[in-house]
Amino acid sequence: MGELLRVDDLRTYFYTEAGVVKAVDGVSFVANEGEPLGLVGESGSGKTVTVLAAMGIVSRPGKIVSGKIFFKGEELDHKSEKEMRKIRGKKIGYVSQDPNSSLDPLFTVGNQLVEVIRTHFEDTKDQAWDKGVKLLKLVGIPEADTRMRSYPHELSGGMKQRVAIARALAGEPELLVADEPTTNLDVTIQAQVLDLLKTLGKQLNMSLILITHDMGLIAEMTKRVVVLYAGKVAEEASTLEVFQTPKHPYTAALLASVPRLDRKEVLVPIGGGIPNLITPPSGCRFHPRCAYAKQICIDQIPPLEESGQRRLVACHRWKEIDLRRKA
């Protein structure tokens, strides 16, 4: 199991008129080959910014303040824009949340695929076109030949997301980053896209980083999870461990607040709201909403400690509190 993407103490701030938004504040994790990784958190937890920074596409007023990013052991942050363009798409594919805004409405599906293919490979236009047709077939689009000539607005939401996935696959990446790939889709279409991502991963031997707020998707699609809260890692562990023995109160609270399809249970909401990242709470950023908070949580930032084999947790009290769910 080789290491693919390593993010080391990444800090990405946004310099806005209202103040400095510390969107990502010291995030580290490793994505391994063949071990689908989930980044989970609510809006504003920094999940998207983390991967955008890893690919070097944070735009102003955002700035990577510090941290190191490695892809297969190679450091990325000293690379020039020209070199980065070869890595983006060729090594790391990216599927964004909203296919309506990620596809260019003025170009046909074919144009957009050919553009990516010809950026990464020395193909003639015809060769690239044929490859595009193959990609559309791969992602399960019927009548791929005619669809190449369609404009995005002629396709349904599910189809557009398939095209976006095809485009992300065009460079034959080793790692696919899918940022909430199904949030905008209907449930039955979501099922299709999830199934597609799973089979493609196996077929193309491609690893996955899935960004989502849906614990259901995490349970189904990933083997390893990084739980983010307000720009910091709260917990990192295998998916099974996160669901069975959460060690961070936020992880446990998140699990207890999601309604379930297979049974009705009492929902325990997390009080309060997501903190403002210009003036984040002192100490542990979760303390104002945490049922277990003590004085130390207000005063000191909890370090990310090892709490078991390949398990990390950032909580002062993880040893004392028992968060196991009564099933």
């Binding site: 609510e42 809006s43 349904s156 599910g158 189809m159 209907d186 449930v187 039955t188 279409i189 979501q190 099922a191 299709q192 999830l194 199934d195 707020h213 849906d214 614990m215 259901g216 998707l217 995490i218 349970a219 189904e220 699609m221 998916t239 099974l240 669901f243 069975q244 609270a253 998140l254 699990l255 607040s257 999601v258 309604p259 379930r260 399809l261 297979d262 009705k264 929902l267 325990v268 909401p269 997390i270 009080g271 709201g273 997501i274």
Partner: protein, 331 residues
């Protein structure tokens, strides 16, 4: 089921589709938003209305409150025809009917006037309905704020000062200001963050326990429907496919569409993964819905009869209504 508070009978609503010509618009078809839908909402109960986008759930809610006019069919509220009453009855009766039915909208960022304070927003129904004497407004607004879990000092603030979850609480307080018996809640949690959704779902349940109010809970999120509803209606392309007590729909669905819908929802438990039924294709256009059973092009069990004959909504077992030719097979 207890006595029905709201009853929908054979409701039909089409939206015409026009093609713009040089001078005139030409009608080219209809969007079949609601096609012959009947159901009841019991007193003090919640009916969950689920379906994918474009299946007609929101339109159904709007027609029930007479915010849209149905083409045919009836909506009865406590036995009275809503549309007729609102057209013909004397003003006092109209207002009384409006007062007893309210709506909570999906997007709390769009449903609250940014130039009004929370106090003005919640007390506006008092201005219209005059059911509360002016001297009591303040107390009433404060008690409503408390009921939805906000504080008195919030009354002087403007909507932009609140988070999404708090805004949704404000719009629930506004709906409650008229002391309604029935609220249509249209996707009230879908624009909120996960940790906040549970707060609002619990609030709806608490309110029902305290005030005996009935809800039509419209949502595409099946897990939240299970959480708050006693009965569930599943809609597909303007038709009700299944209608039963909540546990029957979730534990023993009889319509293949319901089954696929349920199996499509990821379960937040890595050990309990179920086999997924993957439907081919997209939801067909409601302008030209498929013949026979509208689900037949995507249904794994479709037979010849499904292409030609539309399955009626029939009862199978106690109070379990289902529209499928082969429902017995799944029982």
């Amino acid at each position: 089921m207890p006595e029905a508070l709201v009853e929908v009978q054979d409701l039909v609503k089409y939206f015409p589709v026009y093609q713009r010509g040089v001078l005139l618009k030409k009608k080219v078809g209809d969007v079949h938003a609601i096609d012959n839908v009947s159901f009841k909402v019991g007193r003090g109960e919640t009916l969950g209305l689920v379906g994918e986008s474009g299946c007609g759930k929101t339109t159904t809610g709007k027609v029930m409150l007479d915010l849209e006019t149905g083409d045919s069919g009836k909506v009865l509220f406590e036995g009275k025809e809503v549309h007729e009453s609102l057209k013909k009855a004397p003003r006092s009766e109209k207002l009384a009917l409006r007062r007893s039915m309210q709506m909570v909208f999906q997007n709390p960022y769009g449903s609250l006037d940014p130039r009004m304070t929370v106090f003005d927003i919640i007390s506006e129904p008092f201005v219209i309905h005059k059911h509360i004497p002016h001297v009591e407004w303040k107390d009433r607004v404060y008690s409503l704020l408390k009921l939805v879990g906000l504080e008195e000092y919030h009354a002087e603030r403007y909507p932009h000062e609140f988070s999404g979850g708090q805004r949704q609480r404000i719009s629930i307080a506004r709906a409650l200001a008229t002391e309604p018996k029935f609220i249509v809640a249209d996707e009230p949690v879908s624009s909120l963050d996960v940790s906040i959704r549970a707060q609002i779902l619990n609030l709806l349940e608490d309110l029902q326990k305290k005030t005996g109010i009935s809800f039509l809970y419209i949502s595409h999120d099946l897990s939240s429907v299970r959480q708050v509803s006693q009965f569930v209606a599943v809609m597909y392309l303007g038709k009700i496919f299944e209608y039963a007590p909540v546990n029957q729909v979730f534990d023993k669905p009889l319509n293949p569409y319901t089954m696929a819908l349920l199996s499509a929802v990821p379960i937040p438990d890595p050990v309990r993964q179920t086999k997924r039924i993957i439907l081919p294709g997209d939801v067909p256009s409601p302008v030209n819905p498929p013949s026979g059973c509208r689900f037949h092009p995507r249904c794994p069990y479709a037979a010849e009869v499904c292409k030609t004959d539309e399955p009626p909504l029939r009862e199978l077992g106690s109070g379990h209504l289902v529209a499928c030719h082969f429902a017995e097979k799944f029982a």
